[in-house]
Symmetry: none
Subunit: 460 residues, 2 copies
Amino acid sequence: MHVELATHGDSGRGGRRAVLARALRDAVSSGRLPPGTRLPPYRSLAADLGMARNAVADAYAELVAEGWLTARQGSGTRVAERAAAPPAPDPPPSPAPRPAFDLRQGLPHTGSFPRTSWLAASRRALTSAPNDAFGPGDPRGRIELRRALARYLARARGVRTSPERIVVCSGVGGALRLLATVAQVRSAPVAVEAYGLPHHRRILTAAGLPTVPLPVDGRGADTAGLGASGAASVLLTPAHQFPTGVALHPDRRAAAVAWARSVGALVFEDDYDGEFRYDRQPVGAVQGLDPERVVYLGSASKSLSPALRLGWMALPAHLVDVVVAAKGEREQTVSALDQLTLADFIESGRYDRHLRGMRQRYRRRRDQLAAVLAEKAPHVEVTGIAAGLHAVLRLPPGTEGAVARAAAFQGLALEALTDFRHPAASGDTPGDGLVVGYAAPPDSAFTASLAALCQVLPAP
Amino acid sequence: MHVELATHGDSGRGGRRAVLARALRDAVSSGRLPPGTRLPPYRSLAADLGMARNAVADAYAELVAEGWLTARQGSGTRVAERAAAPPAPDPPPSPAPRPAFDLRQGLPHTGSFPRTSWLAASRRALTSAPNDAFGPGDPRGRIELRRALARYLARARGVRTSPERIVVCSGVGGALRLLATVAQVRSAPVAVEAYGLPHHRRILTAAGLPTVPLPVDGRGADTAGLGASGAASVLLTPAHQFPTGVALHPDRRAAAVAWARSVGALVFEDDYDGEFRYDRQPVGAVQGLDPERVVYLGSASKSLSPALRLGWMALPAHLVDVVVAAKGEREQTVSALDQLTLADFIESGRYDRHLRGMRQRYRRRRDQLAAVLAEKAPHVEVTGIAAGLHAVLRLPPGTEGAVARAAAFQGLALEALTDFRHPAASGDTPGDGLVVGYAAPPDSAFTASLAALCQVLPAP
């Protein structure tokens, strides 16, 4: 096996390990190392490359965790079968190339999924479920989960609701798809934050709903502009504006609710990472201010895993029947087994415990990010880090594109602030910036990811 | 001001702060603390409650951030003006009344869900899954499941495909929703069987696609009429026409494929209960005749449970990218954990074993149904029972409505043949009938359900 290590600029053990991992990944994904190929023992490869044994072992372990390699007792480390090129006669699918360093926002730390306690919850849930749990599903969702959520959301997020007002859905995106069918919502455009998830805007647009941007500043979305927006609803991220990272100012929370009351509009509150606040007490949900005007939207995508496709809405009373009717006579998408498992997971206290652990883990990563930047790039302002799983790094005007290209060239995946900008947004606030997610990398790659980030930041 | 702190179980500072915050929120939202009320300085409240000052200050700050309280220099902390009274409690929801006897089609026997072996598969799947299984999902579905399905479908249903051509989706309904977005399909109406699932027709109609009915007779859908239909695609149930229960005649299978080839059309093969055939060898999938013209659609809804919301398509090569693009960049609806579990369930042989057991169980029920009817209502013709989970009972012309009403009066849920008729269907074949599902009732209620059925059948 021949592996070329282009070690330019990567000094130190972490750097060379990362370079080796990248070279192995390329060799496997390109087919140069075919499935089943046995890799040399790490001792001999380390000797060949003049690297520390541990660094080679770490690189192997990383690729095993990612699924490129398999390590079986007695048969050594091999290229995984799943890394194979597709058999003829299919044209090869085009898998997105895996970045060497992944600092994209929106991804949780997949290595932290609580496999053991989830399985325990699953066992209890499946064992005790009534038979009807295996029949066609209630479109509102399983009552066990709606009960657990009503209690949890009241306790943890200050949401005022009841199991009868909760509707389970496929993530927050699934909630928006359903809300976009409501006549009241369809009567006018949806106001959205000028910076926000393009995915959510696309869902609304695909449903035939125009969106109008609300400016975002240091106090969050400027909800004072709602009256002039002509909108019948507004999508907000009050706990931690996405992506700029500020909490919606109390006056603006009040203004959004007052507007909704005065014109009979709706507020959609995307509480996308309300559970991950580090520096002060949690900011409760806006929904608590007026449960008849605010639809609370949440999901397990950040707190547990986006692979579950589990989300929920706490609805005003007058919308429950409308939204349930939009779902149809039976549940179409959400797995009842996952619903039952999550209900047990919450009620048994495992969910809180998991969140506490993740908060600590993410907080350490955030602190490490801040410390590295303070040392290596003290001229770069870091914002939005009181909560959530990402930071916003402010850049000098006009530099964002160059930095993003440099990152792509380095195999460093991250996003620019502009990627989240509404096409019709006016003004130049908040300006150039990078959106740096710090949750996704495996522990073994985090430090190297930060080093790669520092390399692409502009000089002072 | 009086604040009651129910501190049961909440020890420690964070706990008492949270309890105080909740108590304050309740007091404000219920109106016990009216807008404008000045709160005591946190020092004195802390002394009153025997709490740390910081904990009280934190609770105040939390409610200010949420908009319940306002803190203004010089005027202390007050209840915000806009914090309104809570909504009236919900009216109890009206659950659909559960029928005394349930002989509706389309429902499996929920008591037979293989809880223990599903859990075992789940344990193995979750334990061995790579970390990326807990990240955003590939819109094609997990490779583990697509591999398992490709092998299983080839072996059990004669489907010719590969993991790269399989796309996982939310049941057959989810597959139709995706296929309805394909430009080729949208270019013309979809031909459907004159008798079929209204739910599937509604999905196509809701997607803006008109449907045209193909007559159904004793050899299945009359595919010879496809040439004149003006359709660009046809939805068929070849293994067991739904609901009449006949297998599509070989000549008609060939005609459907020949039509698709000659005009570049597509056949959607809904193999909705291809696994449950009792009286002769299974009828293989039409897809095997031409994998480039036939889209095979299957699901776990009948074979395991509709609560899983797991379905799949085996696609012609030229449709794979189009359908994956329609799903979006990431999986939106299907649980990755259920996918991994089903993959293990299939690969470990548990799926085949479960199907064998269910085939025996359903066959016994079918035989019991036939025997009871032969004894109590020998004048009623029973058809469509070589496969599937339902029978069709032929009725004298004009009696269907009266029988259905009598059944409803008895608390017996079942459907009339006319319920499945396309609104534009012509002719009077197959005439009046009842569609009697025999899978759903619990064992203890099956005999009584059959007795209730006999009571509502017309006299000879």
